[in-house]
Amino acid sequence: MHMHKLEKIWLIFGISALVVFLTVIGVSAFYLGNKPPSCLTTIDPEKVDQQKPFDKPGLNKVEGKAWDYELVFVASAFSYNPGKVEVPLGAKVKVIATTKDVIHGFNVAGTNINMMLEPGYVSEYTTTFDKAGEYLIVCNEYCGAGHHLMSSMIEVVK
């Protein structure tokens, strides 16, 4: 099979760019720790309220961990618990969330916190809130009649 010389150059250039690109996102994910949220913990979706840490939704200070706070959310059609929460500026926070019924989204607008909440699974993402202000949490996976009303708010305060 014949391949034109210019096409060979084009493909070699393209494939090399692809290798560089995949290396960059691979190093970012596995060496710098920027993996997408992929928590493997499971939970009984009908007993969420009785289980740790979901028996205490909201911001909880923790000791002896790589993060300062755990910010716990329980989602259900069509709300998050808590509906509003204050987080101190500069705090390193592990966001932990799950759902009691259908699949929900959990997107903190204006940040990189964006994860699916699926019944039976815990979703986690660790981040530092280093800019003060209000951050709207929206459900970005269709969950029913009130999907567009489902939200919460994180206030990052000094």
Binding site: L18, A29, D44, I103, M115, G120, S123, E124, V138, E141
Partner: protein, 555 residues
């Protein structure tokens, strides 16, 4: 042989009838689904509300099912059936009967699903994620659509196999080969969605089992969901590779490379579904990244395609005496809708492909996942590149099948239609992309989110989407006028079914491309490699199952 080819350049009228049956369903779906799209953008602008208790999410379900599943599947099957007929010399009676059976089963399935959606028994959107539980008739209807498409596709495979048997040692006609690749990919891919519907969702919605494993269902769905988009795209590539060169008066750059790129799409479209599940719990990040790498392998055939198309254009232009670096661009037949309409689609694929690279980029997906950026993305890929190419195909295929002519007036209207589409989509998809970067969610009715400041910033973009949506709806009216004209009113005559030839110096395609045992074997091996271990993990570490929920508004 040469005379025989000339004698058979028309699609057999009996095959034409079946193709047209597909197109009537496809364009009806376009009319109704397009209207639903308009309603959505108007609702989300916040300036208008749906009357008579019609629900936004019901409208959204109709839009997605009709345009994402019905329009595409019926158009593609109708087009491929005609392309195989045209390039092999026609279907046998047995293949034609099979095609009709497939068509009717798909249509019955569509009507079953549609009825349940209209009764508000299935406002679950076209992705029907469990544990939202629709009426069992909805799932059974979808099963009929898939099974019908298998039977419909089997007609193409049968005719291809017969041609191969009658022409031993010869590479099959390029368009037939491409149609069969796409059909085979579709069959392999739909096994996933068939598995979740038949073994999980149907028994669960019938009440035979109480719970469903949500992550298994989603993983099976996305095993199907990504090749689905290539199933939409490859017929457009068939037109770009093997039909457009003839329309402009040029040649196919390389027949062999065209076949190779289609084989690469078959191999790398399927073992990649995790890139739709990047932000999901329960899947190991190493396996997600592995599928991200496999996802990006489709960059290679995409680069080959871009090269071939522009090489064809440039060579044609230079043969017409064009000079300078870009002189060939000006001599392309811009007054011919059969070329210009798909060309606008092709151009849209440049930003559309760039957006796709962002979406699939592992951690970068967190910025855009499930924001309305994604909706903007697939309105460039599917609703511009693919759909404009489908329109461009219709403008010669429908009159070819109905024995009519594309008149000068309709040709002009078709070009205007494409520009209207382009302008409407620039507004709508552009605004969706920008709103998505600010965090605006997809699949949501109008909301101020309790007066949140960030949500207020999204509203101007939603107004722009309504403007774009209204312009696009005008585009749909225009295309329907052209369709009805070409089907019923255009003057009788002969419209060519253009099939391009490869350049004279291009040698015969290697027969290894027709070795299905080899390519299906590699396809299966890649799927097993990418899915076996994570899928076993998902099943072994499964949480208690979910019971069903119906959280949408009922009548």
């Amino acid at each position: 042989m040469a005379n025989e080819t000339v004698a058979k350049v028309k699609v057999d009228p009996r095959d034409a009838k079946l193709s047209m049956a597909h197109f009537f369903v496809a364009f009806s779906a376009l009319a109704l689904g397009g209207l639903m799209g308009l309603l959505q953008t108007l609702v989300r602008s916040g300036k208008w509300e749906l009357p008579w208790g019609i629900d936004y999410y019901q409208v959204l379900t109709v839009h997605g099912v009709l345009l994402g599943l019905v329009l595409t599947t019926f158009f593609i099957m109708g087009f491929q059936y005609a392309a195989v007929s045209r390039t092999t010399g026609g279907h046998s009676n047995a293949a034609r009967r099979l095609g009709w059976i497939g068509f009717w089963i798909m249509l019955i399935g569509t009507l079953m699903a549609a009825t349940m959606i209209l009764l508000k028994e299935a406002s679950v959107l076209y992705t029907f994620y469990a544990p939202l539980k629709a009426h069992w008739i909805f799932y059974l209807g979808l099963t009929f659509v898939v099974v019908g498409s298998w039977i419909d596709g089997a007609a193409q495979i049968m005719t291809y196999a017969k041609w191969r048997k009658n022409n031993p040692g010869q590479p099959s006609p390029l368009l037939s080969f491409m149609a069969v690749i796409n059909t085979v990919m579709w069959i392999v891919a739909t096994l996933g969605v068939a598995a979740t519907v038949l073994f999980q969702l149907l028994p669960w919605s019938l009440g035979l089992v109480d719970t469903v494993d949500v992550l298994v269902s989603r993983t099976l769905f996305w095993y199907f969901g990504h090749p689905l988009v290539y199933f939409w795209l490859l017929p457009a590539y068939m037109c770009w590779y093997a039909i457009i060169p003839k329309i402009i008066g040029g040649k196919i750059f390389s027949d062999s490379l065209a076949r190779l790129s289609f084989i690469l799409f078959l191999l790398f479209s399927i073992p990649v579904g995790f890139h739709h599940q990047l932000t999901e719990p329960g899947i190991d990040p190493a396996w997600k990244f592995l599928q991200v790498i496999l996802t990006f392998m489709v960059v290679i055939p995409s680069l080959m395609t871009a090269f071939s198309l522009f090489a064809t254009f440039e060579r044609y232009g230079r043969s017409k005496g064009a000079t300078g670096l870009f002189g060939w661009f000006r001599v392309l037949p811009w007054n011919d809708a059969r070329f210009t309409v798909p060309f606008i689609g092709m151009a849209a694929f440049i930003p559309a492909g760039a957006g796709g690279i962002i979406n699939a980029s592992n951690q970068m997906d967190q910025v855009v996942h499930n924001t309305i950026w994604i909706t903007g993305h697939f309105h460039l890929t599917l609703a511009t590149s693919v759909v404009l190419t489908f329109f461009g195909i219709s403008y010669w295929l429908i009159p070819h099948l109905t024995g009519r002519k594309l008149t000068k007036a309709m040709n002009k209207l078709a070009i205007i239609q494409a520009w209207v589409w382009f302008i409407g989509m620039t507004f709508m998809s552009g605004a969706m992309h920008f709103e998505g970067l600010l965090g605006g969610p997809r699949r949501s009715a109008f909301s101020t989110y309790g007066g949140a400041k960030q949500a207020a910033e999204w509203i101007p973009y939603q107004v722009a989407q309504a403007v774009g949506g209204s312009i696009l709806f005008l585009g749909i009216i225009l295309v329907l006028i052209i369709f009805v004209n070409l089907a019923f009113f255009a003057p009788k005559g002969e419209e060519e079914f253009p099939v391009a030839e490869a350049e004279d110096n291009a040698e015969k395609a290697p027969m290894v491309f027709e070795n299905w045992k080899l390519w299906l074997g590699i396809t299966a091996a890649l799927i097993l490699f990418a899915y076996t271990i994570p899928f076993i993990d998902i099943i072994q570490n499964a949480p208690p199952g979910s019971k069903g929920f119906q959280t949408w508004n009922k009548w």
